[in-house]
Amino acid sequence: MFKMKFPPLAQREGPSLDLGKWLSDFFLRYGLILTLILVSLFFSLRTETFSSLDNILDILRAVSILTIVALGITFSVVVRGFDVSVGAVTGLAVILSTALMVIWQVPWYLAVLICLAVGALVGLLNAFLIIRLRIPDLLATLGVLYLVQGLQMSITKGDAVYKGMTNPWSPTRAIAEGAIHPDFLRFGQGFVFASEGFRGIPIPVLIMLGVAIIAFVFLELTRYGRIFYAVGGNSEAARLSGIDVDKVRTIAYVISAALATVGGLVLAARIGSGAVKSGDPYLLDGVAATFFGFAVLNARRANVIGTVLGAVFVGVMLNGLTMLNTAWYVQDVIKGLVLIVSLGLSYYTTRR
């Protein structure tokens, strides 16, 4: 099913088949995957620990939050929208969940539910601004970004959340008595299927896989996915085909914010405390992963497999570079170059 969406280019152009064209088609479709394999090979030859199972799982764990957030962005991009508020929403979930548990001693599962509800509300707000008030998506979600960031800091009056902090809301500056429940921490730090000599699979990786599989099935195999892509392809034509375009776009923004929230919850569980603005980096990396995904299989549009591979690609690069002791300030340069080259190849070669 997934394959059918991307018929081989050679077939479209007619019967002619020459080696050069075949090769360029091949690299367009599999270029990023091939690069990923080559980069991994390179790193495992240069370092001893790179290719170990533990390291692979470490890399996956490191990109799990990014992948979840990036999948949210993918939904908004599929309907040809854009949501720059996701980083702030991720950060909001981090602060809100930990603050609920530490300051107000809310049971962890309730804190999770409250965060998801708040996240969904932010998605609805984005949708309202973009669809009802017709504010361009970039501007509307930028406004919401600031709003959510401010809200995030207001929860604790700008403080970070940790066990034993002073309660910012207490007139006597009393020590907050709550704690982050160990069951909650498992979402970020736990392992399953551990056995002798095997640490187990990190739970964040399982959550990431779950989200990715559901997103893939939804977008590629169901009629809803078809409708999402139709709205992204030409919203006016979709509307005139009897699609409720506004509803579809609203759902996309809600999914985007909800997945950003899930990412934030995993992040909070992983670091076990709530640092202000900790979600910010996920916006840019998530957008990068989504756009890397454009180049996978030469899809030239946002797609789940592409986004996941894009996020893993970012993770592999950073992990490998770190292991090679590349200075941290060079890493962004490399990230930028790779993004430009992979997208440039995909778009430039298909322009002719």
């Binding site: 152009e13 007619g14 139709a230 030409n234 979709a238 005139l240 085909s241």
Partner: protein, 503 residues
């Protein structure tokens, strides 16, 4: 006056697996209009692209005034004095600049034009050009706010104002009202006096008869006929384009077995666009709505389809009052629209044919939300056979289809439903005669089980296809005719109202 001439010989252009143009000769002479006609895919666009320097690689020679020239890049064409007005005008205008700035954009961009723009002088100069050509365009208005005909005229004015000796017009009248088209022809006649050589591409054979001095017909990339002005008539043109005698362009009218009233519209009002519209439409008939561009046909169909909300008025469907808030409400009741401007409103151009046609009733191709690819393929292939949609490839992106086949996709997506009323808005614009004939037959076929409303500014086709014709002008109905008895001139006069119509 030196005689300008352009002579192209043996033009040949191939794409992988396709010969788009196969050794075509063409000559343009100063003071003369050379018309180029052919079905979609005959090679007209390829020929224009060669002459305007779009292609680097092609075979053949081009001579201007007897001297060979190399035209491999747009700059070469510009230097040779070849100007083109493309069919899709939106791509050649900067929407947020004023009409004046768009008109004189070359001057603004020229080196040495100064750092600051002298707006008043610019407006004055632009106004002069517009006045000289007798056009009604507000030169201070943003290009985005102009109507489509105004944009078209603006682009033509820009090409004319550059005083190029060779002017290529690609379907210039597709968006124009009869009055504007007449104005364009007057401009062309004036320019002919001044020695301009025209290459004129159009699907409207009647206007070719009016304006052209010679006609070249392309078919499958080859030049199949050439007529001098006196030797050309519409029947010959159609025959040469299709390669077979044209036969009957319009399908036979069939008296309906039963004339069942399906839709009643009463007192529909929408601002200044629709004024007290009332009519009935019956199953078994094709109801034509004839009117010039801007008469309100599109607005009426959009209201009937739930795209727009009327201020007042009632719509009854099968005897029950209905109110469509969104197109999806109309679709649920079996009211379907084939919109004008199929590329922007009708198609997902990047997506495959399959995805386009199954979109409205996608529920029928899924189970528990999951798509059923085999069922989808089977039924899409059936549909493609029924509509003679070629190539028979469900996975081909819609943008690779010819205009006529694209239109079949837009019609085809409704055939999986249960049509009660089908609305066609300018459904044959920009498609070739063969595809038009097929579309007319599809309309007739649909009318057997549903009511068909066919709105068009091409009065001949409305009279040819419809059983009954309502004439629309300025947002209201101004007349009703039985199509078979209708007098073309009378309908035309009614549609154009006080405007003097020559033909």
């Amino acid at each position: 006056m030196a005689m300008t001439s352009l002579r192209a010989t043996g033009l040949r252009k191939t794409f992988p697996g396709v010969v788009a143009l196969d050794g075509v000769d063409l000559a343009l002479h100063g003071g003369s209009v050379h018309a180029l006609i052919g079905a979609n895919g005959a090679g007209k666009s390829t020929l224009i692209k060669i002459l305007t320097g779009y292609y680097d690689a092609y075979e053949g020679q081009i001579e201007i005034n007897g001297r060979p020239v190399a035209i491999r890049r747009p700059a070469d064409a510009f230097r040779a004095g070849i100007e083109v007005v493309h069919q899709e005008v939106d791509t050649t205008l900067v929407p947020y600049l004023s009409a004046a700035e768009n008109l004189l954009i070359e001057q603004l961009a020229a080196p040495g034009s100064g750092l600051f723009i002298r707006k008043q002088a610019l407006y004055r100069q632009a106004q002069q050009i517009v006045d000289e050509l007798g056009l009604e365009i507000d030169v201070r208005a943003q290009a985005a706010d102009l109507s489509l005909p105004q944009k078209q005229l603006l682009v033509i004015a820009r090409a004319v104002s550059r005083r190029a000796p060779f002017l290529i017009l690609d379907e210039p009248t597709a968006a124009l009202s009869i009055r504007d088209a007449e104005r364009l022809f007057e401009i062309m006649r004036e320019l002919k006096q001044r020695g301009v050589a025209f290459l004129y591409v159009s699907h409207r054979l009647a206007e070719i008869q009016e304006i052209a001095d010679e006609v070249t017909v392309l078919r499958n990339g080859q030049k199949v006929a050439h007529f001098a002005r006196e030797a050309f008539d519409i029947a010959k043109g159609v025959e040469a384009m299709l390669g077979t005698p044209p036969g009957e362009l319009y399908p036979k009218r069939q008296p309906a077995a039963e004339r069942r009233l399906v839709m009643e519209v009463r007192g529909l009002c929408w601002g200044a666009r629709l004024k007290d519209i009332s009519f009935d439409v019956y199953q078994g008939e094709v109801l034509g709505i004839a009117g010039l561009t801007g008469a309100g046909k599109t607005e009426l169909l959009r209201v009937l389809f739930g795209c727009e909300q009327p201020d007042r008025g009632e719509i009854h469907l099968n005897g029950k009052p209905v109110r469509f808030r969104l197109p999806k409400d109309a679709v649920r009741h079996g009211v379907y629209l084939i919109p004008e401007d199929r590329r922007n409103l009708g198609l997902l151009v990047e997506e495959p044919v399959r995805m386009n046609v199954t979109l409205p009733f996608i529920r029928d191709f899924s189970r528990l939300g999951f798509m059923r690819p085999s069922k989808e393929y089977a039924r899409v292939l059936q549909l493609m056979d029924r509509l003679k949609l070629v190539p028979r490839k469900p996975d081909l992106p819609a943008k690779h289809l010819s205009g006529g086949n694209q239109q079949k996709v837009v019609v085809g997506k409704w055939l999986f439903g249960a049509p009660v009323v089908i609305l066609f808005d300018e459904a044959t614009q920009g498609i070739d005669v063969g595809a038009k004939r097929e579309l007319y037959a599809i309309m007739r076929d649909l009318a057997r089980s549903a009511a068909v409303i066919f709105a068009s500014s091409d009065i001949d086709e409305v009279l040819g296809v419809a059983d009954r014709v309502l004439v629309m002008r300025d947002g209201q109905f101004v007349g009703e005719f039985e199509a078979e008895q209708a007098d073309r001139q009378a309908v035309m006069r009614l549609a154009a109202s006080t405007v003097h119509v020559r033909s």
